[in-house]
């Protein structure tokens, strides 16, 4: 039996040297006259262990990490091909507590399979959902998704089944499925991991969506900042087309669906659904007024499903295992699982997929291991750049849509960015305004101009210029942006700013700044 070694080609793992590890393993094996098969998988999302190398043994996969190229000879000496003990040995991968306690539904295959190997995908349950969907009436496919309780995982959390039902109900000879892969929020990387670790699940999910609503063409709008994802996704789509999982005759059914990838060009606003549609149409990413909803009048004026990567990649398992399976994870109105991304100043950052119910404290400390710096955690931003900053006094909040909303915060795409006590919250408030100014599509005056003024007002506050007057002005400006903006960029920029003012007022006083 030729030993199988897994070295991730996930870009996060690559960013920490996984490519040189893969080369070193191949070279060392050749030098020792040992035949090995190196599989390039996605990442398991335990980024403090990346590059994390796994080996197939008779008792399952065992992990070693973090591995650097210079560790490789020693690993061979320690007989890692047989799971031998070594300083970097983590034991059986599935038994690593960080991973064992998770509920990997959407991410079941990420880090397990080679994302470009379609047979590998099929061996792990791939395309069972599609086969099921091919045997169902469109309305029944939609009902399955509705009954699962799946809510959009991009950030808006709109019930996916209701969106699909609206598109199904439109009488049109042309409809589209679009996947929003413009994952621009800082602190988020679940879409990237999925695209780089299990592309076929997205392809399958989009195809099922097409069958459900009557669309034969799908588009994936992918960030230009994700070149590795672009490569893996491109390979997967080409393979799916060659093998009849995409194209004019899906699995010999006579039904058709195909996917085209279109790259974004560095505009955060194109993560907003109507801005994304404008960009797909070859235009400036300006936000559209709604109504009409994209489900009724979307891409090129046609009924269009716009869904996030994680939402679509979750669809196959709902069709395969039935809606109750997914729905029975979770609590209240937050059903199923959410892939949470732990980021920023944490010792153990990465991907945690669990049913809803964990608290922020559990995520930051039990999973995250507390700060990477060793200093106390002071503020946490959940939900991306438009999310509120949460102080330590609120770390016991449950991380679900409703509980976070109740404390004036938001879950969004599930990114959690932790800051230690060296953070200057006035600077972070200023950054929120600055980011809005840089990324504004320009349509609405409160967003386009208000954000620039916000930077100026904050500079005056931080410089000690008429602080009380300028703080009142900042509050007034925030209210204007909140109520006068067409979309969430201008409309929600006040959230991080106001939360910083509310929870960390001491940072806004005049003090010595470098």
């Amino acid at each position: 039996m030729v030993p199988v070694i897994y070295v991730p080609r996930d870009s996060g793992a690559l960013s920490l040297g996984a490519e040189s590890v893969a080369r070193a393993i191949a070279a060392e094996a050749a030098a020792r006259g040992v035949q090995v098969r190196v599989v390039r998988n996605g990442s398991r999302g335990l980024y403090w262990l990346e590059p994390m190398v796994e080996v197939d043994t008779p008792s399952g996969r065992v992990a070693y990490g973090p591995v650097s190229a210079s560790d490789v000879p020693g690993l061979f000496d320690a007989r890692f091909l047989e799971g031998g003990s070594h300083q970097l040995a983590m034991g059986a991968t599935d038994s690593i507590p960080w991973l064992a306690s998770q509920q990997r539904l959407t991410f079941a295959r990420v880090g397990v399979i080679d994302p470009t190997d379609i047979a590998n995908y099929a061996d792990h349950g791939g395309f069972r959902g599609l086969r099921q969907a091919l045997s169902m009436a469109p309305a029944d496919i939609v009902k399955a998704v509705t009954d699962s309780g799946l809510r959009g995982r991009g950030g808006a959390a709109f019930p996916t089944g209701i969106k699909w039902q609206t598109v199904l109900d439109q009488a049109s000879d042309r409809k589209y499925i679009t996947c929003n892969a413009d994952e621009g929020d800082s602190g988020t990387f679940s879409d990237r991991m999925l695209l780089e670790g299990d592309s076929f699940s997205l392809i399958e999910g989009m195809t099922i969506a097409g069958l459900a609503v009557g669309a034969t063409q799908g588009y994936i709008y992918l960030r230009i900042e994700y070149p590795h994802a672009q490569r893996v996704l491109g390979e997967a789509i080409a393979t799916a087309q060659r093998q009849g999982f995409l194209g004019a005759n899906l699995l010999g059914s006579g039904r058709r669906f195909d996917i085209e990838v279109r790259m974004g060009a560095g505009a955060y606003i194109c993560g907003e659904e109507t801005s994304m549609l404008e960009s797909l149409e070859g235009r400036r990413g300006e936000v559209r007024v709604r109504p009409p909803l994209p489900a009724i009048k979307g891409l090129f004026g046609n009924p269009t499903v716009v869904n996030n990567v994680v939402s679509l990649a979750t669809v196959p398992l709902i069709l395969d295992k039935g809606p109750a399976f997914y729905r029975d994870f979770g609590v209240g109105k937050s059903r199923g699982t959410l892939p949470i991304q732990l980021a920023g100043n944490l010792r153990r950052g990465g991907l945690v997929e669990r049913a809803f119910g964990l608290t922020l404290r559990e995520l930051l400390y039990e999973y995250g291991g507390g700060s990477a710096s060793g200093r106390p955690l002071r503020a946490v931003q959940v939900g991306g750049p438009l999310g509120a900053y949460i102080p330590a006094s609120q770390f016991d909040v449950v991380v679900d849509y409703e509980a976070l909303s109740a404390i004036g915060a938001l879950l969004g795409h599930g990114g959690i960015v932790a800051f230690d006590d060296t953070v200057d919250m006035a600077r972070m408030a200023r950054y929120a305004m600055h980011f809005c100014a840089v990324e504004s599509c320009g349509k609405c005056t409160p967003c386009r101009i208000g954000s620039t003024r916000g930077v100026e007002v904050l500079d005056r506050i931080m410089g000690g210029v008429e602080p009380e007057r300028n703080l009142r002005l900042l509050e007034d400006l925030c209210e204007t942006m909140l109520h006068g903006s067409l979309c969430g960029l201008g409309g929600m920029t006040p959230f991080p700013v106001q939360s910083a003012l509310k929870h960390f007022p001491e940072d806004f006083g005049p003090r010595g700044r470098n």
């Binding site: 929020d185 602190g187 879409d191 960009s279």
Partner: protein, 158 residues
Amino acid sequence: METLDSTTLQRISAIVASHGAKPGPLLLVLHDVQNALGYIPPPAIPHIASALNLTRAEVHGVVSFYHHFRSEPPGRHSVRICRAESCQAMNGEVLAAHARQRLGVDFHHTTPDGQFTLESVYCLGNCACSPAVMIDDELHGRVTPERLDALLAERSGQ
């Protein structure tokens, strides 16, 4: 304004033709032009507009809207430093300041020797390994100022 030579014009025409009858192909064309030429030369805009039956204003509007599209030739290597929240939480701004000082240019500028173009980017999706830098297409995580110096030095002669 520079004029385009006939080879470049032919390349642009070929790029437009390669997309056939795809609907709304402007961003596809602009990406291909930038990938081929390194940037989108302003004189290319009327040709692209004409080929796609758009106005020059529309094409200019799209090029100028998106941060990724360049109207000037880039340096031999692009150095993109993430300035977003997660990287800030891990001293990303110290790294950014170091990059400016080390390269001697501000963001969105190219070093006088034409070697490096320094850019801000807002999120590379590597947030569990902050701070992140992308040099050309290569992503780097947990980058310290020393590591950045080493990465730049490796590419200084190329």
